[in-house]
Amino acid sequence: MLKTSQKKPEKLIDENDVRLDGRKLNEVRPVKIEVGVLGNADGSAYIEQGKNKILAAVYGPKEVHPKHLALPDRAVLRCRYHMAPFSVEERKSPAPSRRELELSKVIRESLEPSIFTEYYPRTSIDLFIEVLQADGGTRCAGITVASVALADAGIPMRDLVSACAAGKVEGRIVLDLTDVEDKAGEADMPLAYMPNANAITLLQMDGMLTSEEFEQVVNLALDGCKQVGQIQKEALRAKYVVAKEAEAEKEEAEEGEE
């Protein structure tokens, strides 16, 4: 077993309230989303959030196998969150861990409220999230990218789901924790949000928070979700609106030639 990791730094937040990666306390890591990155999937997207690199793919709505899992009144959403063996410091066995099984469940439950599953009875919508590189907050980035992939698949949705964690590190309330901050910090609270319905669809927490801190952390996480939501929309616009405009321009130019 190779150990390349450096020793944990003594301070995660310096005297000027700057974090190890240069961010302010209430700042999200740089987020980059690409839409439609996989050839075979009905919808797909890729996200980079700091050092997190995650792919999401959607297949469906399609026939359910095995058949007995089909629901008469709506589609079943199935979700697999999985981490690549090379995505973390110490190689992770590719077999699904208990953590991955729990996350698959909570991610599914965070996205299902956004989908009009009743439009597609007796079908399944299969969602795959592959974490290629992890640096804390992968379930949130996974939800964010999965929601974009669902939109890319053309599945009717009430709203995009955006997710972001907030927590407490060295006594301070901070947004979007990295792996080091999560491990050394006092609390981490992943949260997913649908802004149009004012709906929190994922909420988990481990650590210790007083009730005042709890309210601060929830509000900060909601703020992070809204920031992430903007980037999701821009990514979808970049693929669909910009592409449509380019197409229209091309047509106009062709008409002009005639």
Binding site: R98, E102, K105, E109, I200, L203, M208, F214, N219
Partner: protein, 265 residues
């Protein structure tokens, strides 16, 4: 044969009553069912407790094993929580490897105990980096009538309070168990409080039929000083921020009531 699902008429009635602030079993929206706690009924286990929450019944056993500490915390003992949804507890439980529901249950119980630092794990270490006690907390669901999380967390806490540790001495690198026991060193007492959202209202301690009607579920685990130490949302619905804040206030109050049933100080 008992049916698994409440009838549509009954489901509708449950939801209607709740929007009027009432419940089918006569409880108020923030009332728990009757709780019975019995500790120490499994002699072979180092600690055990059975909790009955209405008709929900959960047995928790604590066992010790000797093993290696984790490399990142070489001078701490190891805590492992597992949950079994035993097929005799419900017609919906199937034998086989743990499914996502039992894994979620175990991980929520684990989070409460771990994050509140309930067990003084550093006192379980025998030889830093080499040998330590591993505490196995096994949650055994015996009858499922809703709200397994709160029943399991309470039973786990009662079982840990009931747990006896070996006296031992280390001689020439060998661990010798000596006669006599001491209590497991505990520092905190986490208690989980679970809400169901039905017709946009929060209800505490949902029973099985309410769980079938609920839109979403929210668990808040509260430690002895009233801090929140774990949260888990479940189900296909959602909560508003206001509902989450309301839940955290109710949870603090309810956790204290529930804690008194188990922790006698």
């Amino acid at each position: 044969m008992s049916s698994i699902m409440a009838s549509r008429v009954r489901q509708k009635r449950i939801a209607q009553l709740i929007s009027h602030g009432k419940r089918l079993d006569g409880r108020g929206l923030t009332d728990y069912r009757e709780v019975q706690v019995e500790a120490g009924l499994i002699e072979r286990a180092e600690g055990s407790a059975r909790v009955r929450l209405g008709k929900t019944e959960v047995l928790v056993g604590v066992k010790f094993e000797m093993g290696e500490p984790f490399p990142d915390v070489p001078n701490e003992g190891v805590l492992t929580v597992n949950a079994e949804l035993v097929p005799l507890a419900s017609p919906t439980f199937e034998p086989g490897p743990p499914d996502e529901n039992s894994i979620e249950l175990a991980r929520v119980v684990d989070r409460g105990v771990r994050e509140s630092k309930a067990i003084a794990l550093e006192e379980l270490c025998i030889e830093p980096g080499k040998k330590t006690f591993i505490v196995f907390v096994d949650v055994y669901v015996l009858n499922h009538d809703g709200n397994l999380i709160d029943a399991s967390c309470l039973a786990a806490l009662a079982a840990l309070l009931n747990t006896k540790m070996f006296n031992y001495e280390v001689k020439e690198g060998e661990v010798k168990i000596k006669p006599g026991y001491k209590p497991l060193p505990l520092r905190n007492y986490p208690v989980a409080v679970t809400f169901a959202k039905i017709n946009d209202k929060l209800v505490v301690d949902p029973w099985l039929e309410e769980e079938q009607v609920m839109d979403a579920r929210l668990t808040m685990t509260v430690e002895k000083d009233g801090k929140i130490c774990a949260i888990q949302k479940g189900g296909y619905g959602y909560f508003t921020a206001e509902q989450v804040f309301e839940a955290s206030k109710i949870a603090r109050q309810k956790a204290e009531e529930q804690r008194k049933l188990v922790v006698k100080e």
